[in-house]
Each structure stands twice: as structure tokens, then as C-alpha cells.
């Protein structure tokens, strides 16, 4: 079946050719090898057809071309394969550029990656103002770079500064922004695009205008200098930006930058494309790229899931959300829900408490308004969605209530019973508990099938993960509703079974506790944290993380674990000590391992060692040991959570949850991808060593970890 329809059309007295992309049986157009081959055949014929003009468009609603086929990229394993695939793409887009007649792309809907590279090889580009129209080059997000000439053509068309913004961040632009930077020539209503294009083409043919190779013309002296003799400044600034954002863990943006730097202004197209290809080849075969594509698939997986196995069960729509507790979590949840258009009613016991939630949400939107991400009208609309109460007024209208009050089982059970009585019989209550048993808590609900866990991570507006916790009585419909709600709130839900710490905290707590043991053994806070941030790629080190979670919370959860997993969990004595001294609980008390000012970290508090009765840190352990003990502690526990307790079904969920909930470096593909890359036998061997050398029972390999090592089994098959 054909993916590209070729038709002829009369404009005035001239005959023009229209290529319409319409991949059979798919919602989107992709530039897979068969499609590219077909395109090549058409182009060969058109080249000598004598047609006056060529139009490229799509028959799909809201999609132009979504990009290359990612599956194909993932399967490339040798340099030769990459060379062939990329060279073929470059050649075909060269053919478009070299057609003797002028060409135009009509863009309605997503136009990403290869799609964007295709329109860049056309002479003219017209886009619709439809909100689905998004144009850009997201390749660096997948660890590669635009390889079909995009790295060469975009800078030529829109200039150095704009093109680096697009390529390095890998973000898509809306039509308005695309027109502003000169990526498209016109933006029109989708009903008018064909007739507008026809009138433009008629005029062009009449005027005898032929091909053009659009070249960016900078406006204003500063821009002229920056695009010209001072372009070095632009490159070094861009590199600085990339390094700051990626700490050097992501080679793709750096390579893309290198390509642009080497080829910008180069007149020899063949040579420029060769440079692009060379860099692409290196990137496409890196683990980083494979891992990022893996993560991309994980997020796609969630989009398709409903949270339950039964495909017939559908979640109920949630228009009104209740939030109990106006603290940091409650306020954050209210913000995230209202931001996506859900009406939210926050209930706490005092006006002062409620005011905090309102301020929390307002401040976040005010920031967006200041940055012009939203306008003042959107600001007012969003703010209008949040209301508060000190009683249960309005709760009969609420579809789902999230409980985010104090972490005490008896209080929670009581409040849940109270709330259930104030809500409709078909309404759902979820708990945002991070450590208490959802099943146990559901005993407070008169209809426990309408109860589940919905665990957000702090800060709620930043962390994408939501653990949807299935209590023993939770119904499929409840889980599907909560899963759908999380997605509507722009979050990444992962369904987990009830159990101490659920999934993420169960893995994270041993990691943080291990760091505390390192401290006791003479390591310094900054050495350990820096190793994790700069070497391993975590967004923050374990000590900063403990500060952000709250040391009291860590101790509380660890105590729960100690009870549940007495065979392996140890409480670091220094954490207990810190918890007893209520003034050093982390960010919330402005003092933890670090000092804080206005909520911002300033520096490590050097007095902490003396306070804990430790001598000045001498850093006797290698960075490798620090890293391995903390990370392998997580893998060790993950093996039990996955293989024995079946908290989640597959390693996919573990990795997605760790990336979205803790910022585990995406370029490593997730905790278990990383474990696979080092090997179970190595991990077991190191754990044995550390548990013996450091007399640390907690680091002994777990039974499931040993099984894997013996079987040399990877988490991913």
C-alpha cells in the first residue's frame, strides 16, 4: 500500500504536483525506510515531469509528519547500518532541495524530527495556526541529532541563535513562534491553507519566481555581529548552557552544537552533510541514546495504559477534586489539578492553613505569568479554580478527594470516615501517604472499594511520578479513575501494590541511609553529593535529598521499614540523633546537612560533623565505593520488590518510577537498565565485599539478587 499519494492539480494555467503523506492504517505519518524509498521513487519521476510546482502535505488530521521511525533507529547496531540509513535520508532530502521546480510544505499538525527536516529542504513553508501545529527537532532528547540535513539547514534558514535554541533543547514550536523565527513563511487558518497556498503559488508562477534557498538575514547590529564575526560568543554561551543543564552526561546536544559550529556558513553541502552524518553515527550507537529511547517508550507505554488489566473498565471523569490538608503537598496537588482545568476545593482546619495553599498555587502561576508562559486571563482562570473551606461544604459535588494530612494512621482513618460521609456514595477518596499501609487505612472507609493510594512526589509541580497504590479492596474502576486523573494532571502514573514505602521510597530510603553510614565512616557531605550529581547524574545527592524530604520523615519511614524488613534494614544512628534535635530537619527548618536561605540551599553546614560527634571528614573511601554502596543498595531491594513481593509487574515500571519520581538519570535508562549494564553477578560480588569489609549486614545480597547473579539473568530480557 502506498504511503504517499501523488496527484496533479491546476493552478491558473499551470499544472502542479501534490504529494500527500497518508501512512495506511496509522494515526501518524512516519518516515520509515519503506516511506522514504517510496518518496525517492516519486521524486525521481517529478524531477523530469516538467510540473510547475510541488506541494508536500499530509492527509492526517493534526499530524504532518511525526518524524523518523524510532524503532528503526533503536535497531541500528553497526556503523555501517547507520551510515546507510542516514546517507539515504540525506540524499532523498537533497533531491527535494534540488528539484528544478519550486517546492512548498503545507504544515498542519505535528511536524517533528524528520518531518521538520523535510520541510526545511522545501523552498517555502506555510503552517496552520491550529494548536496541533508543532514544529521542531526533538532528536537530542533521544540522544541523537538531526541527521537528515536538519542540523545544516535549520541554522541557514533561521540563523544561529534561534536554531541552537531549537536543536539543543529539542522543544517543538507552535506556529506563531515558528513564524517569528522565520521557520515558516506564513501562518493561516487551517480552512484557508490550501486556497492561500494556491493563490501564493499562482502569484509566484506569474512573477516567474523560481527556486529560493532562504538564508537568514539578522536584524539589528547586535544580531548581525552575533550571527557573524562574534558567533564564537553564541557557541560558547550555548555550550555553557548545555553543560549546566546536562553536567556533560548527554553527548547529543554537545555533538549537535559541534556540527552546527563546523558547518555554519559552509557552502559545500556534501561536506557539511558528511560532518552531520559522522556525528550522528557516533551518537546513534551510544548506550545513552538507546537508554533515552527506552525511556521514551516507557512514557509512551503509560499513555496507552489504563492502570488495570481489564480493558473494559473505564475510569470515571473527574471534574471536581477535593484536597484535605493545605500543606506543601496539598497546595501542590491543588496547583497541579487546577492548572489542568480541574476545579479544586481545599479543606484544612484554619483560614491561615488554607491561605498557604492559595499562596502556593498563586505564586507558581504568577511565575508563569511573569515569564509569559500564560497570560493574565489564563492566570485568573486557573486561580479561580481553587477554592478553600474549613468545613465540608461543596464536598457532595466532588468526584475524588486526595487526603494529604498528617501521617498518622488513626487520624487518617478517622478523617477518611468523616469525609466519606460528606461525599457521594460513588465518590473516591485517595491517600497521599508516603509510608502508611493503604489497605490498613482503607478500613476507615465504609466502602473500601472506593479507596486507593495516590502518592505524589515533592515538589508536586516538578516531579512527574504518581504512585497509584492498589489497596486489597480497591476496585478496578477506582484504580482506572485515579490513573486517568493522574494523567489528566499531567503526571506519569505507575500502579503499585500496597507495601511498606510502596516502590520508590522502599528503594530510596536504603540509598539515603547508606549515605548516612558513609558520613559516619568519615566521608564529607559534599564529596558524596558531588559524586552523585556530577559523576552519576542524579539531580541532587543523597544528603540534599534527605534535607528536601525532611530528616524526621526519613527516620519515620526507616522505622516502618525496620519493622517490616527487620532482616536487612538498619537505622543510621546519626539520623536518629538529628531527628531528636528538632532544629535540624532539613529544608523546612532552614538547616539540615546544608544551610538554607529563603528555601534555597547555600552551603554545607560544616558544624554538622562536630554536632554528630564526628571528627572532620577525611574521605577515606573511594568514590566508587560510595556510589556502589548507595546504588546497589537500591538494586538489591528492587530485586525483592519486583521478584518476590511483586510490587510492580515489570522492570519497566521500576525504571519509569525511579526516573520520574527521583530523577534517576534518564541517560542510564533507569535503575534496572543500569543494573543490567553492570551485571547482577558484579553487583552481588560487590555487595558481598562491602557487607563483609564494612560489617554491614544491610548490604548483604538479597536472595532474589543472588538468584539473578547465579542465573546471570538480566532484569530486562
Amino acid at each position: 500500500m502506498s504511503a504517499i499519494l501523488v496527484s496533479n492539480q491546476k493552478i491558473g494555467a499551470s499544472e502542479i504536483t501534490v504529494l500527500t503523506f497518508d501512512l495506511p492504517g496509522e494515526k501518524v505519518n512516519k518516515l520509515s525506510t519503506p516511506v522514504m524509498t517510496e518518496l525517492k521513487d516519486h521524486l525521481e519521476k517529478i524531477k523530469t515531469s516538467g510540473t510547475a510546482f510541488v506541494i508536500f502535505k499530509s492527509a492526517k488530521p493534526k499530524i504532518f509528519i511525526a518524524g523518523a521511525d524510532i524503532e528503526e533507529i533503536q535497531k541500528l547496531t553497526t556503523k555501517e547500518q547507520v551510515e546507510t540509513a542516514v546517507k539515504q535520508g540525506q540524499d532523498i532530502f537533497n533531491m527535494i532541495e534540488d528539484l528544478p521546480m519550486p517546492t512548498m510544505a503545507l504544515i498542519n499538525g505535528a511536524c517533528a524530527g524528520g518531518g521538520c527536516e523535510l520541510i526545511l529542504s522545501c523552498d517555502y513553508r506555510i503552517a496552520t495556526e491550529d494548536s496541533s501545529t508543532r514544529i521542531g527537532l526533538p532528536e537530542t532528547q533521544l540522544g541523537i541529532l538531526p541527521g537528515f540535513g536538519g542540523s545544516i539547514r535549520l541554522p541557514r534558514v533561521v540563523g544561529l541563535q534561534a536554531s541552537l535554541d531549537v536543536i539543543l533543547a529539542g522543544k517543538l514550536l507552535n506556529a506563531k513562534k515558528a513564524q517569528k523565527i522565520g521557520l515558516v513563511d506564513y501562518v493561516v487558518h487551517s480552512n484557508l491553507i490550501e486556497s492561500f497556498a494556491a493563490s501564493q503559488i499562482e502569484k509566484m508562477i506569474k512573477d516567474g519566481s523560481k527556486k529560493r534557498r532562504k538564508k537568514f538575514q539578522p536584524k539589528g547590529l547586535v544580531n548581525k555581529l552575533l550571527e557573524g564575526i562574534f558567533k564564537g560568543v553564541v557557541f560558547s554561551k550555548a555550550k555553557e548552557g548545555v553543560m549546566k543543564a546536562t553536567k556533560g552526561h548527554y553527548p547529543a546536544p554537545l555533538a549537535a552544537l559541534e556540527v552546527v559550529k563546523k558547518t555554519y556558513g559552509m557552502s559545500d553541502r556534501t561536506k557539511a552533510l558528511e560532518i552531520e552524518r559522522e556525528h550522528f553515527k557516533v551518537l546513534a550507537l551510544t548506550d545513552v541514546s538507546k537508554n533515552l529511547i527506552h525511556v521514551f517508550y516507557l512514557t509512551e507505554m503509560v499513555k496507552k495504559q489504563s492502570g488495570v488489566a481489564n480493558a473494559l473498565v473505564k475510569g470515571k471523569p473527574v471534574k471536581h477534586l477535593g484536597v484535605l490538608g493545605a500543606g506543601t503537598m496539598g497546595g501542590g496537588i491543588a496547583y497541579v489539578a487546577a492548572d489542568k482545568g480541574i476545579d479544586v476545593r481545599v479543606k484544612d482546619i484554619s483560614y491561615e492553613a488554607n491561605a498557604k495553599a492559595l499562596k502556593h498555587a498563586r505564586d507558581l502561576w504568577a511565575k508563569l505569568a511573569k515569564k509569559k508562559v500564560i497570560d493574565n486571563y489564563q492566570f485568573t482562570q486557573k486561580m479561580s479554580l481553587v477554592s478553600t473551606t474549613v468545613d465540608f461544604s461543596g464536598f457532595k459535588n466532588i468526584d475524588v478527594t486526595v487526603e494529604a494530612i498528617v501521617e498518622m494512621m488513626d487520624v487518617k482513618q478517622k478523617v477518611i470516615a468523616q469525609t466519606a460521609a460528606e461525599m457521594r456514595n460513588d465518590a473516591i477518596i485517595v491517600t497521599n501517604t508516603s509510608s502508611l499501609s493503604v489497605t490498613e487505612m482503607s478500613k476507615g472507609h465504609p466502602r473500601p472499594e472506593f479507596f486507593a493510594g495516590m502518592h505524589f512526589f515533592s515538589p508536586v509541580h516538578k516531579m512527574p511520578l504518581v504512585e497509584v497504590i492498589r489497596g486489597s479492596a480497591s476496585s478496578d474502576e477506582t484504580i482506572a479513575t485515579v490513573f486517568e486523573l493522574a494523567k489528566k494532571m499531567g503526571k506519569m502514573p505507575v500502579v503499585v501494590k500496597d507495601g511498606p514505602g510502596f516502590l520508590v521510597n522502599r528503594l530510596l530510603l536504603p540509598y539515603m541511609a547508606e549515605a548516612a553510614f558513609l558520613l559516619a565512616e568519615g566521608m564529607s557531605v559534599e564529596t558524596v553529593d558531588k559524586a552523585f550529581v556530577y559523576k552519576f547524574g542524579m539531580p541532587m545527592g543523597p544528603f540534599e535529598l534527605m534535607d528536601s524530604v525532611g530528616i524526621d520523615v526519613c527516620v519515620k519511614v526507616l522505622n516502618i521499614f525496620k519493622k517490616a524488613f527487620s532482616d536487612r534494614v538498619e537505622m543510621p544512628p546519626l539520623m536518629e540523633k538529628l531527628e531528636k534535635n528538632k532544629t535540624r530537619l532539613g529544608q523546612k527548618t532552614n538547616l539540615g546537612f546544608y544551610k538554607y536561605e529563603n528555601g534555597r540551599k547555600t552551603e554545607v553546614d560544616q558544624s554538622i560533623y562536630a554536632e554528630l560527634g564526628l571528627s572532620s571528614p577525611t574521605n577515606p573511601l573511594s568514590e566508587e565505593e560510595c556510589r556502589e554502596r548507595c546504588v546497589f543498595a537500591m538494586v538489591n531491594e528492587a530485586a525483592l520488590a519486583l521478584d518476590q513481593d511483586k510490587i510492580v509487574e515489570t522492570p519497566n515500571e521500576v525504571d519509569l518510577a525511579m526516573i520520574m519520581g527521583t530523577g534517576f538519570p534518564p541517560f542510564r535508562g533507569g535503575l534496572l537498565k543500569y543494573a543490567d549494564s553492570v551485571g547482577a553477578d558484579y553487583i552481588v560480588q560487590r555487595l558481598e565485599k562491602y557487607s563483609t569489609e564494612r560489617k554491614a549486614n544491610r548490604l548483604k545480597p538479597t536472595s532474589k539478587m543472588k538468584e539473578r547473579a547465579q542465573a546471570k539473568a538480566k532484569f530486562y530480557n
Binding site: D343, Y351, N354, L358, R362, S384, S387, S393, G394, N397
Partner: protein, 450 residues
């Protein structure tokens, strides 16, 4: 005669709620009238667990017509979560705009056209704008249409000169005096009768003098208003929703700011007459302050309320608006009330509780005299007096002198306060009435639903 069978076509008030009222230029001065309305309406929806899809229309009184929300009812409705399909209209009958919203809703439901209406009012008098006078706008127009550089420079120069004149006038003339270049104070214009050119305060002076109401009497009345409002704080709290003050929310307004705990007769006596400096008796202390606030009520047909399981607070029995001389506008209640009573099929004797808006103490007291006067009754075509307006049933929780008078919202506040107090006291009939700038009176009779 007064009892009437309960009918499915009756129009009932299910619930009501308002924001705290704050003296203009104080706590609520930065809050847009639409936001005030929204706070009240969202809370009304919550307290009634209302299915907003069933609302047929939102009718909101407002007199300031903020230029960025000209049909403010629509803005309030959408930001409160009322669906887009639901129509919304802003009504303006000056001081009775919010009463107009209730009577409009009453008519729509009574006629069977609609089943459920949200009626209310919102006003931010702090934000009534200053306008450029024509002497300056004409220069700006010239500037806008100037084709040549020379014409532009000439217009700018004239503007500059006009600005200098404006500054000079500001410095040398009385604050409220109108001049060629000074900005037009819309609030002052709004409080000036457009037919006879008399300030509202001056119309009160007319009444005070004609009805021989002394300064002392007025001040004593004003003091009472504060004392009653202070004593009723807990009761008034029941009709309030707290207002969280953006942008920092460091303050949550939970009560009306007007009532003064320590108000004394001495303090009131010290004030100078504001309008008639020599022979006048109307002061800032015995008049209502300009105020910001909003109030909303939920109206339904009895049939709808029954079907949805709501227990109404009151039934609307009848209403009337009537006109009189603009310069005696304060007497409006005495004109509209007898008509409303007649339409409701009751007499003044049946009325157990009254909310008469305290625009001015003198005006309230003059109405009391008129109500009890055979001569006045005959003057307006009645066989005798309207009936005594007893002090012990009048504004029992204080009135606008203490609480304030956000012009477009007061009508709803009167009905809301009245119906809640009727329920507390188990009173059968209540009257809410107010005088209306421009020379009208408005009255509504409601019946306790138990």
C-alpha cells in the same frame, strides 16, 4: 388573608452568602468587583452543593461597570464555574441593582420561563475610575489622528499646557469642584443626581430639614447601628464567606470592617456637616460609607427545589419599585412599600422584621415618620398611614451606616440578612427596602419557609 397556599410555581430563596464588606480604599481596594462576586458565588455553589448545569441564568447587579468587565455577570459566572452555556446579565437600578437582580429572577421563574436563577450583586467602589475631561481627551484625539510631525508636536504641546493647567487647578480649587482640566471623579458623579444636580447627601439634608430630624437624633441612630452590628457579629458571620486577600494571603478577611466597637456619641458629635457646612446635619458619621463587597442568593421555583431536595429559607411574596422627586430620593421606601405590601396581600402589621437600607440616618428616620403618618398615606393615595415601622423590628443587626453600602450589592445583602434573621426569630413576613438614587424606592416582601 396573609396565609397563602404553597404552590409549585412559588419562587423561593434556597440560600445566600456574601463577602465581608470593607470600607472603600481599605482592605478590598485592589480586588476587582468580578473577583468579589466570584468569591461569593463559588461559596454559594459549594454550600448548596449545586449542580451548576441546572442554573438557567446568572443575574448580577453592579453600578460601576468596570471597563474590563462590562457585563460583569458573565465574568463572575464563568470564573465561578458556571457552564459556558448558561446566560448571564448585569442589571443596574442604581442602589437597588442587586434587588433588581432578585426581582428579575423572580419574574423569570414566576412566569415559568426559568426554574433556577442565581441573583446577586457586586461592587468595588474603590475602583471607580477617574476620567479625563473633554478638554484633554480632545487633545489626545488630535494627537492620535495627527498626520504630520508638526501636527503631532502641536498636539503634544497643547497636552503639556493642559497638564500644567490641570496641576494648577488641582492645587487651587476645592477637591470636588469641577473644572475644565481636572479629572472627572466618577464616584462623585455617580452620587450626584443627574436630573436635579443634587448630591445624595444634599437630598438627605432636604429630608432632614423637612421632617425636623435633629443632628443629635441622627447621631444617636448612627451609634445604635454600630452597636447593633457589633452585637450581631456572630450572626452576620453566618452569611459571610471569608475573603482570602491576594496576592500574599497573609490576611483573611472574616468580618465586615465598618462596625466600630468603640464608636461614641462624642466622636459622632464632633464631625462637621459634610454637605451643608452651615445649617446641615448630615455627617460622614451618620451616613453610610462607600464600600466594597458582593452578595449572592440562589432562587428556584418551589417545584425545582422540591425535586432537588432543597429546603428553602424564604418565599418571595411580592415586590415593587416606585418613583418620587429625585431631590427626596431617600423617601423611596415609603413610596414602594405600600405597593409591595398590596401585591404580597399583607399589611404593615403582618411584617415582623424590616431591613431598610441606611443610606443616611435622617432618611431612615424620616421614612419611619412617613410610614406612621396618615397625612403622608393620603398624599400617596392611601386611605390612611402605611403602618408603623417599629424601631424594635428595624435593622436589628445594624445597617449600612455600620456595615457599608456597596451600591450594586446592597439589595442582596438586605434580603440575605433579613431571611436569616427571620428564620432565627421565626418571623413570618419580612420587608427589605431601600431608597434609590435618582428618585425611586424598592421593596420586597419575603415569607419564612421555616
Amino acid at each position: 388573608m396573609s396565609t397563602q397556599q404553597k404552590l409549585p410555581t412559588d419562587v423561593v430563596i434556597v440560600e445566600g452568602v456574601r463577602t465581608p464588606f470593607a470600607k472603600s480604599g481599605t482592605k478590598l481596594k485592589t480586588v476587582h468587583a468580578a473577583q468579589l462576586g466570584q468569591a461569593a458565588l463559588k461559596e454559594l455553589i459549594a454550600r448548596t452543593n449545586l449542580n451548576v448545569d441546572l442554573v438557567d441564568e446568572v443575574i448580577i447587579g453592579n453600578t460601576g461597570s468596570p471597563s474590563d468587565a462590562v457585563n460583569i455577570a458573565r465574568v463572575v459566572a464563568l470564573n465561578s464555574g458556571i457552564p459556558q452555556k448558561t446566560s448571564a446579565v448585569t442589571v443596574h437600578r442604581n442602589c437597588a441593582s442587586a434587588l433588581e437582580s432578585i426581582t428579575s429572577g423572580y419574574e423569570r421563574i414566576k412566569s415559568g420561563t426559568m426554574e433556577m436563577v442565581i441573583a446577586g450583586g457586586t461592587e468595588n467602589m474603590s475602583q471607580m475610575p477617574l476620567l479625563m475631561p473633554p478638554a484633554i481627551t480632545s487633545i489626545i484625539e488630535r494627537l492620535g489622528s495627527a498626520k504630520t510631525g508638526g501636527a503631532k508636536i502641536s498636539a503634544l504641546w497643547d497636552w503639556f499646557k493642559a497638564d500644567l493647567s490641570q496641576i494648577k487647578e488641582m492645587a487651587t480649587t476645592a477637591p470636588l469642584q469641577k473644572t475644565k482640566y481636572k479629572p472627572i471623579i466618577t464616584l462623585a458623579e455617580g452620587l450626584t443626581d443627574p436630573f436635579v444636580g443634587m448630591n445624595m447627601g444634599m437630598t438627605a439634608e432636604v429630608i432632614a430639614k423637612e421632617f425636623n430630624i435633629s443632628r443629635r437624633e441622627q447621631d444617636e441612630y448612627a451609634l445604635k447601628s454600630h452597636q447593633k452590628a457589633i452585637a450581631a457579629k456572630a450572626k452576620l458571620a453566618e452569611e459571610l464567606t471569608p475573603f482570602y486577600l491576594p496576592p500574599n494571603y497573609t490576611e483573611t478577611i472574616t468580618e465586615d470592617s465598618g462596625p466600630r466597637e468603640g464608636q461614641t456619641i462624642e466622636a459622632l458629635t464632633k464631625l462637621k456637616p459634610f454637605f451643608d457646612k452651615n445649617t446641615g446635619s448630615i455627617t460622614a458619621g451618620n451616613s453610610c460609607p462607600i464600600t466594597d463587597g458582593a452578595a449572592m442568593v440562589l432562587l428556584m421555583s418551589r417545584a425545582k427545589a422540591d425535586a432537588l431536595g432543597y429546603k428553602p429559607i424564604a418565599r418571595i411574596r411580592g415586590y415593587a419599585f416606585a418613583g418620587l422627586e429625585p431631590e427626596r430620593m431617600g423617601m423611596g421606601p415609603a413610596y414602594s412599600t405600600p405597593i409591595a405590601l398590596k401585591r404580597a396581600g399583607i399589611t404593615m402589621k403582618d411584617v415582623g422584621l424590616v431591613e431598610l437600607n441606611e443610606a443616611f440616618a435622617a432618611q431612615v428616620m424620616a421614612n419611619q415618620k412617613a410610614f406612621d403618618s396618615d397625612a403622608f398615606g393620603q398624599k400617596i393615595g392611601l386611605p390612611g398611614k402605611i403602618g408603623e415601622l417599629r424601631t424594635d423590628i428595624l435593622n436589628v443587626n445594624g445597617g449600612a451606616i455600620a456595615l457599608g453600602h456597596p451600591v450594586g450589592a446592597t439589595g442582596t445583602r438586605l434580603v440575605l440578612t433579613l431571611m436569616k434573621e427571620m428564620r432565627r426569630r421565626n418571623i413570618e413576613f419580612g420587608l427589605a427596602t431601600l431608597c434609590i438614587g435618582g428618585g425611586q424606592g424598592g421593596s420586597i416582601i419575603i415569607e419564612n419557609e421555616g
